[in-house]
C-alpha cells in the first residue's frame, strides 16, 4: 500500500470514527442495521429494518411431543444420532478434536460434528464463556431446530471455575440457556465427554431432555438475564 493510499484510508477511517463517536452513547445498532427508508432503483421508497427483515423475531413456543410410540421411536433416533455443533467457546474446545481420533472415536456412538446450527441438535459449551461469546451462543442456540440439547463442559460453566471473579466471563450458564448435562472438571478429559454423551442419550431416551420447551416456557426470565449482561443488544429478541 502506497503512502497516498494509506493517507486516504486514514482520513476515511477518521471520518468514520468521528461519526461513530457522534452516534455512540447508548446506541449499539450499527448504522447499516438501523431502521430506515431506502430509495429503490425505480424511485420508490422502501422501508427496511434489517435486524427484523432477515430474522424472525417471533417468540419461541412450546412444542408438545408426539404421542406414545412415535415419540419413543423418534427419541431413540435422536439419541442415536447426536449432531454436535462445531462451536468452541473456551479452552475446552481443545478436548473435542480428540473425539474424532481413533483413540476415542465418537462416531461409533452416533455422535458427529456438524458445521451449521441449522443441522445440529447438540451444543457443547466448552468451558468459560465471555459475555461477547455468550451473545453469539444465544444467537446460535436459538437458530438450532427444536429438540436441542446443551452439554456444559468444565467447572467454568457450573460456577465460574477459576474465572469466577473475572469481569468478562459468566458464572452460571443455566441462567442464560438451559443445560441438559454438566460435565465437571477443569478440563474434563475426552472420556468424560463421551460419558456425558452417554448420559445425554439416557435422558433423551427417557424423554427427559425437553429443555428447549423449558426455554420457551421461561423465555422472559432467560431474556431478562441475558439482557442484563449483554448490554449492546443489537439483534432481535429471538433470532431464528
Amino acid at each position: 500500500m502506497s503512502e497516498k493510499d494509506m493517507n486516504s484510508k486514514v482520513s476515511e477511517m477518521l471520518a468514520r470514527s468521528e461519526a461513530n463517536a457522534k452516534n455512540s452513547g447508548k446506541k449499539f445498532v450499527r448504522p447499516e442495521d438501523e431502521e430506515r427508508e431506502v430509495v429503490a432503483p425505480d424511485g420508490s421508497i422502501i422501508k427496511v429494518n434489517p435486524i427484523y427483515d432477515y430474522f424472525s423475531g417471533a417468540r419461541p413456543e412450546e412444542e408438545k411431543p408426539r404421542n406414545g410410540i412415535v415419540e419413543k421411536f423418534l427419541n431413540w433416533a435422536r439419541a442415536e444420532s447426536i449432531w454436535v455443533l462445531g462451536f468452541g467457546t473456551g479452552c475446552g474446545s481443545i478436548e473435542i478434536p480428540p473425539l474424532v481420533t481413533p483413540r476415542f472415536d465418537m462416531f461409533r456412538f452416533g455422535v458427529q460434528m456438524r458445521p451449521t446450527p441449522r443441522q445440529s441438535n447438540a451444543f457443547i459449551i466448552s468451558g468459560y464463556l465471555s459475555v461477547k461469546t455468550l451473545k453469539r451462543v444465544i444467537r446460535t442456540y436459538e437458530q438450532m431446530p427444536s429438540p436441542k440439547y446443551v452439554l456444559a463442559l468444565g467447572s467454568c460453566t457450573i460456577n465460574g471455575g477459576m474465572y469466577y471473579d473475572s469481569y468478562s466471563t459468566i458464572n452460571r450458564l443455566d441462567h442464560y440457556i438451559p443445560v441438559d448435562v454438566y460435565i465437571a472438571g477443569c478440563m474434563p478429559r475426552p472420556e468424560a465427554l463421551l460419558a456425558g454423551f452417554g448420559k445425554l442419550k439416557e435422558l433423551i431416551k427417557a424423554g427427559k431432555a425437553e429443555k428447549a420447551n423449558e426455554y420457551a416456557r421461561n423465555f422472559d426470565w432467560y431474556k431478562a438475564n441475558q439482557k442484563k449482561i449483554v448490554k449492546d443488544w443489537n439483534m432481535p429478541d429471538y433470532n431464528w
Binding site: F73, S81, F107, R108, P115, Q119, P145, P147
Partner: protein, 304 residues
C-alpha cells in the same frame, strides 16, 4: 401393464434408496477403517433420516427454498424413472422402468436438474456459503459435463442410438462387448468424469466441509435435510447405474447391479481416500486436460 410397471419402478426406487443409504454408510465405514477407527454403525443413515424428519421446528425462507430439495429428489427419481435398471431381454420388461428411445438426452438433463434446483433453493436460503458452494458446484459440473457428454455422444455414434436400453443390449454377451473394451477412449473419459459427478474428494469443493460449512445445504434443516440426504443417496446409486449401463455392460440381475454399482462407487471413494481436495480452478483445469482429450479422441475415432 403400466400399473405393474409403475409398481416395479417404485419398488426399484425403494431398493435404490436403501442401497444408497447402505453404500453411504459403507463409504464412511471404509474411511473410518482407513484411519484406524471403528466408525459409524451401518444403519446410521436411516437413524439420521428419521431424526431429521422428526425435528419439531422447521423454518422456511420461501417457495424456492422449499423447492430446492424437491428438485434434487426429482433429479434422482427422474434418473431412475427413465433408465433401465436391469437388462432382462424385454424392452418393456419389468425393471426397464420408463426407458424410451432417446432417453439418454433426458437422463443427461436430469443429471444437472438437482444441481439447478439446489442453486435456486440455496440462493433463497441467503447464506453466503450456500451461494459460494453452489457457484463452485455449477462451475465444476460444467467442466464435468463436457468430457462426459462427448463420451456419451461417441457411444451414441458407435451404436447409432440414443436409447439407453439399446446401448445396454449391444453390450450383452460377455465382457469383451462392454464399451470399456469396444470404445476405450469414451470409457476412459467417462471413468474420469465420473469422479467429478460423484462429488467425492478430490472434487468435493462443492460441500467442502470445514471450509464453507456444508455448502449449498447450509441453511437446510429437519425434513428438508432428510429429503436431501435421500436424494443424495438415490443420486449416488443412479449415477453409478448410469455409468454401469454406459460402460460396464449393464446388469442382468439385482446382485450384479449391487456388485457393479458398489465397485463403481468404490472407485470414486478409493480415489477420494488417497487424494486431497482440489481447488475449483485446479479441478476445472483437470477435467479440461486428460478427460476432455479422451472425449475428443472418442468422438474423432467414431466419427470417421
Amino acid at each position: 401393464m403400466t400399473i405393474a410397471k409403475l409398481g416395479y419402478t417404485l419398488l426399484g426406487l425403494f431398493i435404490v434408496w436403501n442401497w444408497g443409504f447402505l453404500m453411504g454408510a459403507i463409504f464412511r465405514k471404509i474411511g473410518a477403517r482407513v484411519s484406524g477407527r471403528i466408525g459409524i454403525p451401518f444403519y446410521q443413515p436411516w437413524i439420521n433420516f428419521f431424526k431429521s424428519v422428526g425435528v419439531r421446528t422447521t423454518i422456511t425462507h420461501g417457495v424456492m427454498y422449499y423447492l430446492g430439495p424437491v428438485f434434487r429428489l426429482t433429479g434422482g427419481i427422474g434418473l431412475l424413472f427413465f433408465m433401465p435398471l436391469i437388462y432382462t431381454g424385454d424392452p418393456n420388461g419389468m425393471w426397464t422402468n420408463f426407458s424410451f428411445e432417446g432417453d439418454l438426452i433426458l437422463i443427461l438433463y436430469f443429471q444437472l436438474f438437482g444441481m439447478l434446483g439446489m442453486a435456486m433453493g440455496a440462493g433463497e436460503g441467503g447464506h453466503p456459503y450456500s451461494a459460494m458452494g453452489i457457484a463452485r458446484g455449477l462451475a465444476q459440473h460444467a467442466a464435468v459435463e463436457l468430457p462426459l457428454t462427448l463420451a456419451i455422444l461417441s457411444i451414441a455414434i458407435q451404436y447409432d442410438t440414443f436409447s439407453m436400453y439399446k446401448i445396454v443390449e449391444a453390450q450383452q454377451g460377455g465382457f469383451q462387448n462392454w464399451v470399456l473394451f469396444t470404445n476405450p477412449f469414451a470409457a476412459g473419459a467417462i471413468i474420469l468424469a465420473m469422479l467429478g459427478a460423484m462429488g467425492h474428494s478430490p472434487f468435493n469443493l462443492v460441500k467442502a466441509p470445514n471450509e464453507i460449512l456444508i455448502g449449498p445445504a447450509t441453511e437446510y434443516e429437519g425434513t428438508y435435510l432428510g429429503f436431501m440426504q435421500s436424494a443424495g443417496s438415490i443420486l449416488h446409486v443412479m449415477e453409478a447405474v448410469l455409468f454401469m449401463n454406459l460402460v460396464f455392460g449393464g446388469a442382468t440381475s439385482w446382485p450384479e447391479l449391487i456388485v457393479k454399482t458398489f465397485l463403481i462407487y468404490f472407485w470414486s471413494v478409493f480415489v477420494g481416500m488417497v487424494f486431497p481436495r482440489y481447488k475449483i480452478e485446479q479441478s476445472i483445469t483437470w477435467f479440461f486436460k486428460v478427460p476432455l482429450v479422451l472425449g475428443v479422441l472418442a468422438i474423432i475415432v467414431f466419427s470417421f
